[in-house]
Amino acid sequence: MHIVSGSFWVGAAIYLAVLLEPKIRSGSIDLERQILRRTSRLNSLWITSAAVLTIVSGFALISLAPGRSISDLGESGWGTMILIGLLAALAAFFISGFAGMATAKLRRAFESAGDNPDATTTPESEQQLALFRRRLSSLGYLNAVLVIIAVGTMAVARFV
C-alpha cells in the first residue's frame, strides 16, 4: 500500500508539475478552462487520497517493522533519513493542498467568466489570473522536488 500509493503520488505530482500544467498553460485559455474543468477535481481526489494513504501506511510500516519504532526517528542513520523523508512528504502534502486551493480559485474564475461571456476582462482580472497561474506553477515544482526528496531519502534509509 505504501509503495504503490507513494509511487502514484510521486509520479502524478511530477507529471502534473513538469509536463501537463506547463503544456496546458502554453495553450489557449479556453483549452486550459476545459482541461481544468475535467481534471482538477479528479486530480485533487486521486492525489490527496494517494498522499493520505502513503503517509498513514508509512507510519503503520514504521510501527510494525521488526526492530524499528517511531522513537527511532532522527536517532540513527535510518531514523534520520526516514525523518527527512517524512518531513518532505508532509510539506509536499500541505503544498499540494495549497495548490489544490489555487486551482479551485482558478477554475472558479474561469467558470464565472464562462457564465458571463459578455463580461469584459479587466487588467485587474487578467493580473489576478496570471498571479494564480504563477503561484500554481511554483507550488507544482516545489511539490515535485519535495516528493523526490521524500522518495529518495526513504529508498536509501536502510543503507545509510
Partner: protein, 168 residues
Amino acid sequence: MDAEIIILRLLHIVPGSVWVGSAIFLAWVLQPAIAKTGPPHSGAVMANMVKPIVILLHSTAWITMVFGVVMAFRVPGRQPLFDNLWSTDWGTMIWLGFLFAVVGYALGFAGGINSKKMMDIGKTLTGPPTPEQAGQMAGYQKRAMMLTKVASLLVVAAVVVMALAQHV
C-alpha cells in the same frame, strides 16, 4: 554506508516511481478525462503532450530497468545472481517483477503507437472527419486507452512483487 547501493537504489527507485505514477495517472485519470472533453480540445492537448509524455515514460522506464538489472548483480548476500534468481523466493519475485515491467513497457509502447496513429489521421483532416476516419480514430483511441490501462496495471504489479521480494 554502501555508496554504490545507495546510488543504484536512487537511480532505480526515483525514476521507477515517476514511471509507475505517470503511467497510472495517464491511463486512469488524464486519458479518460481528455476523451470526455472531446474534440477540438482533446486533439490540441494530445498534439501538445505526446512528445513530452513519450520522452518522460521511455526515459524513466529505461533508467529504472537498466539500473534495476545492474543493482540485481550487486545486491549483497544475493550473489551469484543467477543461482539466487532460480532457487530462492526472492529471485522468483525479482524475475517476475522484471517480466511484468518489460511486458508493461511493451504494452505501453503499443498504446503510444495507437495514439500516434490516431493523431496522424487527425493531422490529415482539413474539415470534419468522414465516418470511416472517425471510426478509425475511435478504434485507435479505444485500443490506446485499453493498452495503457493494462500496461499501468502490469508496472504496478512489478512494483508490488519487487517491493515484497525481500520479505517472502
